[in-house]
Symmetry: C2
Subunit: 170 residues, 2 copies
Amino acid sequence: MQNGLESLTTDEIAAASGVSTRTFFNYYPNKEAAAIGHPPEFSESDKEALRTGTAPLAADIKRLLGRHIETLAKDEAILRMVGKILRCNEKARGILDGFLSAQREDLTEVFCSRIGNRQTAAALAHSATNAIGGAIFLWEHEDGITLSQALDRVWEGLMDASRLLSSTGE
Amino acid sequence: MQNGLESLTTDEIAAASGVSTRTFFNYYPNKEAAAIGHPPEFSESDKEALRTGTAPLAADIKRLLGRHIETLAKDEAILRMVGKILRCNEKARGILDGFLSAQREDLTEVFCSRIGNRQTAAALAHSATNAIGGAIFLWEHEDGITLSQALDRVWEGLMDASRLLSSTGE
DNA sequence: AAAAACCTTGCACAGTCTGCAAGTTTTGCA
DNA sequence: TGCAAAACTTGCAGACTGTGCAAGGTTTTT
């Protein structure tokens, strides 16, 4: 069993769900999309807080990410299972990638309305979504660490990296 | 024609390549992988230069990225075609994502050996690969801009973002 | 209670991809 | 040169995903 998904047929999934295979495909465009579902979005109020926040930008971003990771932490089991699927199913990765790209664009708009410059906003949005992804990755690969702790570690790395990039020496 | 790839069957591709369909699948694991191919890697010597460089980190990174984007610029036609495929084929996105993740890990090692801290290295690697992706995106969506110019714009955004993140005020 | 809108399902079908068992070509070496 | 081994190509059968369509059933509306 390389995947878990690959060894599950749509017939089996449909039967287990108590609908016909045809109906399964009325609900979901394909097997992978059904398996990974739709990842949670950043909350509107958190985005609004980021848009209008007055604390240093880094602090406001960290708050958004922290709250988002808390949301994710509510479904650790799902997160772990989805991670397993993503690790060995290319199509699933592509589908998730689509969702995350949309979220990143969304976040880019938020940053854009706070700081004005689109390229800068895009870089920030990338950093933010990478931090979430990185935190999940760390949490998956390191025992006895919570998602929040993982985010803190990743965040520190991002802060270090930012300092390194913006300083002229090393 | 939503995709271009979806309306092309493997039978057609194989026939056009002068081999049987079965042989096509001996060469490539699937249609999408065949269509997008393997993206170019960062050159070993450029990575080595980054590993052992003594200029400010940002300058060394920028050099690596600049040289990589020059490599990409040699095949603009391919880049454009692959972009078109990626935009509407989830499986292809997932496959590319796998390649790029591997490249990013590779780059993480490079940064790691230069600066020591793994999380920081990972953040830098993310920023670097995002810059490449962002530059291609910008080049695709803005008329009359070269890849190098696009990279410069994206790079400025990254520098701004780094300063914003590492400063306590705004 | 009839009509309209909606949902589920079966069926046929196009397409991807794999394993297997030939057959064919290339390589290497005697 | 010539033959055996290795490597490659192919056809075929088959499992599986996903779609269009039309028939049948359910729910909602009037």
